[in-house]
Symmetry: C2
């Protein structure tokens, strides 16, 4: 034994929704005691760093109900059941921004909040945008903006950009600019 791993003893399904699935599990700890773990299962998501010909990043401005706030984020969305993340990224980019792209590179994958959720976020990069057609979900309302890197850095500072994936995206673009 590695002295770290926990073992599932019992799992209780609390809720199975359209987005999240909540389980409360009883687990065996490395020291032989029991504990309870609350687990939010999530289908996973994609997010796209999309850079225009004039080197601006696409951002979408949208209301986030859990925060009761309007924030700016890179285009993103949940995986559909059985959907490949690469296909999902292509789909979300066009649905939200009205752009398709010629090439899309997966640059990172990370867990949003591994303490309570298995949500894996796949991050993509493209600078080969072409025209497509915006077509939002029935319950989706957003505005599309293109900002240059200096502006994006300022938006992180003043919290108009306030989510993990978009802060990551801005740092990614800063590192890319400095490595040129």
């Amino acid at each position: 034994m590695d002295g770290l791993t926990e073992k599932k003893i019992e799992s209780t399904e609390i809720f199975k929704g359209r987005v999240v699935h909540l389980l409360v599990d009883k687990v065996g700890l490395p020291n032989g005691n029991d504990a309870t773990r609350e687990v939010v299962r999530h289908p996973g998501a994609v997010a796209i760093i999309a850079v225009t010909e004039d080197e601006k990043m696409l951002l979408v401005r949208q209301y986030r109900y859990p925060l009761d706030k309007i924030i700016y984020e890179i285009p993103a969305g949940k995986l559909e059941p059985g959907e490949n993340p690469d296909d999902s990224a292509m789909r979300e980019l066009e649905e939200e921004t009205g752009h398709q792209c010629e090439q899309l590179e997966r640059i990172a994958s990370f867990y949003s909040s591994p303490g309570f959720s298995d949500e894996l976020l796949n991050i993509y990069f493209t600078n080969t945008l072409t025209n497509g057609r915006q077509h939002l979900d029935d319950d989706e309302f957003l505005e599309v903006y293109a900002v240059d890197l200096g502006e994006a850095v300022q938006m992180v500072r003043d919290h108009r950009i306030a989510d993990a994936k978009t802060v990551y995206a801005v740092q990614y673009m800063q590192l890319k600019a400095m490595q040129k």
Copy 2:
């Protein structure tokens, strides 16, 4: 109206746990239709980029039950009820790593996953570590490591570092190193 904001019509509490609180709300959309929103309320968290005298970052290696994986993360933890994030960061740093510090600077705050959760992650930086005493929670098992920046970048590449806050931390240290 801004054409983006959603209005709460009705809120149903599904679960109130030790970590998460799940609500399913009926909301009014900007176009007058209704929709359902699943919301995971979370107390918020802190994470600390802690740099040693020889310029290594502290990482904790721990099993994450939702992932069924052992990963490396920067020291982190949930806010206790009514706790100030600054105090929480000092507390978690010592509890998990056995180090106190002289100065701790809040460098960023962002939402982990604003589509379904209000978890706000407060990120701190310190390079003024002093000795303290490690004292883990009863159900917490982890190992502490110190890695240099090159190693940390490699760990992101090979997914031993696989969570948003720690990927952010590595980028932050890369930017800091390049700006020197």
